[in-house]
Amino acid sequence: MPGVEGFIYPNELELQWSVLIVLYPFITGLVAGAFILASLERVFNVQAVKPTYRLALLTALAFLLVAPLPLQLHLGHPERSLEMYLTPHTQSAMAMFGFVYLWYLMVVLVLEIWLDYRRDIVLKWRASTGLSRLLYGAMALWSDNIGESALRLDDRVGRALTVIGIPSAFLLHGYVGFIFGSIKANPWWSTPLMPIVFLFSAIVSGIACILLLYFVTCWLRRVPVDMPCVDTIAKYLYYAFLVDFSLEMLDLIHRLYEADESFRALDFMVKTRLFTSQIVVQIVLGTLVPLAVLGATQLVTFTERARRALYVLAGALTMIGIFAMRWNVVIGGQLFSKSFLGYTTYKMEFATREGLLPAIALMILPLVILWVLIRLLPPWGHGGDVQDRRARM
């Protein structure tokens, strides 16, 4: 049979989960990571990263709104997807994740953004006319009060939300890891480390994403980059990456050492079918090189210009690497047969429902949504400066 090597169970010929299912953990990972970066400022008072606070929240929202779309395109019956909310099977990680997603979207992200932006929303409401006025009025819930007392209350509630939000973000992406990690039938996925590996790689990708977006938005706005801000973000990226890399190495070492029944089949797969995406892209280009670059910036003093270039390089490679990691988990987990005697191939098509084209479109869509959100709720200027706002209280 074409694309098959060795023996596979007959029903394993075609892969069940496509590139869209690779995209899904990647997108939710960016959400969790962006939020963790934002919470660094809000909860842990890391002042240096405040220029990215609102940007990170809006980015998280933009990506979270897109997250269900690859799933909808993948389902055999997307019109029945509401069943997951109406009759969720409480033993199913996938079902319960639907509620984690909903909780995170509505209670954590939307509420927090609303509370943080409320003053600006009301000011815009007062200042606009026509359709804009209607929109901003609705966003303000037609409540006009932006007095000191009300804003202070908002700040307190917002802070509490962020505190709840951090474990919620952990739950959001840890759960995605658990969706894979709890499948005992698949030894590539089944490990208690999976939720933690997913979480830390999410944090890494989210921080890298905000770093890159910050550079891009500064460049588009023709505004100088706040160097202490990006230096701090790069530092956190480096540390998060060290943890992520250690976890992945721990998994690898464990597998190599224990060498259980699945090991030989998986080892062969990594050395052949998964070599480019795992060794070359994920490990070398996507992990070792960014770690070396970021490590170098921590140890050696570079000029501002050099640092900016290195951060952009590291950030871009990181995002590619984390995408490759998702690919290797999802696709890699389906390339080998559960008989451990053979392999099949993933035939990714281009312009079909689950092909490369919709995948690309779904990666561009959040950026479009982010652009709209930035237009509606500018993360910079008056009120965007958190220190400004709090000073006024």
């Binding site: 049979m1 023996f7 169970y9 007959p10 055999g76 069943e83 033993q91 639907g98 008989s339």
Partner: protein, 254 residues
């Protein structure tokens, strides 16, 4: 006058609400009784299967019968049941050569190299109708379930086609039906066994290698089968509670 009208409307309203609720509740009570199907009481049965490797000749009659009985797609490479052929070199036990050409649908060709030192046998496979089924565990909506008589069934009108169950099954017995875009798998010919017939595969197996078993029936030959043979299930380490009992299952079988 107003007071009377108000009272009347109030009482009618209450009456309507009460009867509507009662009607809905009654519907709930009525709806959940599939044993309205004549003569078959699910709780009297606990289905499994006895498979005797020593008798299987790899003719593929079961595969063909299943596809006919259950309208399993022919063009797509999908099977509710299939047969695997194992060729095991006793000196290299960990590396059996396994094949399942078209799932065994057309039987197996004579091997070109006929080395008498090799151990060879056929293994028919199907859904294991696990008692602790991992596929049932992961279904997000309840579209697959274990019935009261131990058969793991699919609700095709409810399945979303998310494929999580296909990933969770250790035995590779589930697939997506390209026509309905839902999951499909061996249903143990539920439409037959509830009518007192046996499954299509067991009916047509010419050597008696496959035999439907009702573990709750004291007269069923399965009890003697389990007692007199060294019996195994597939992938016992997965603790799925498989009810497909194999006699003569070699350790090299995956």
């Amino acid at each position: 006058m107003d007071q009377d009208r108000r009272t009347f409307l109030g009482q009618t309203g209450k009456w309507l609400v009460l009867t509507a609720s009662a009607a809905i509740a009654w519907e709930h009570v009525l709806a959940g009784r599939p044993e309205e199907a004549p003569n078959y009481k699910a709780t009297d049965h606990w289905w499994g299967m006895a498979i005797d490797i020593e008798k299987c000749i790899g003719c593929g009659t079961c595969v063909r019968a299943c596809k006919t009985e259950n309208d399993v797609p022919h063009e797509a490479f999908t099977f509710r049941t299939w047969v695997e052929r194992y060729v095991v070199d006793p000196a290299d036990f960990d590396h059996p050569v396994v094949e399942s050409p078209n799932g065994g649908y057309d039987g197996f060709h004579q091997r070109e190299v006929r080395d008498p030192t090799l151990k060879m046998f056929y293994v028919p496979k199907l859904c294991n109708h696990c008692e602790h089924s991992p596929c049932v565990q992961v279904c997000p909506v309840g579209a697959t379930f274990e019935s009261q008589d131990g058969v793991v069934l699919v609700d095709k009108s409810y399945c979303l086609g998310c494929r999580y169950c296909v990933q969770a099954c250790p035995y590779g017995c589930r697939f997506i039906d390209p026509r309905t875009h839902t999951v499909d798998k061996c249903s143990l010919c539920y439409h037959r066994i509830t009518r007192g017939l046996t499954t299509a595969c067991c009916e047509t197996c010419p050597t008696g290698a496959r035999a439907l078993a009702d573990l709750k029936d004291p007269k069923d030959p399965i009890h003697a089968f389990l007692r007199e043979h060294k019996v195994q299930v597939l992938k016992p380490q997965m603790a799925t509670g498989s009810k497909m009992y194999y006699n003569g299952l070699d350790g090299s079988v995956r």
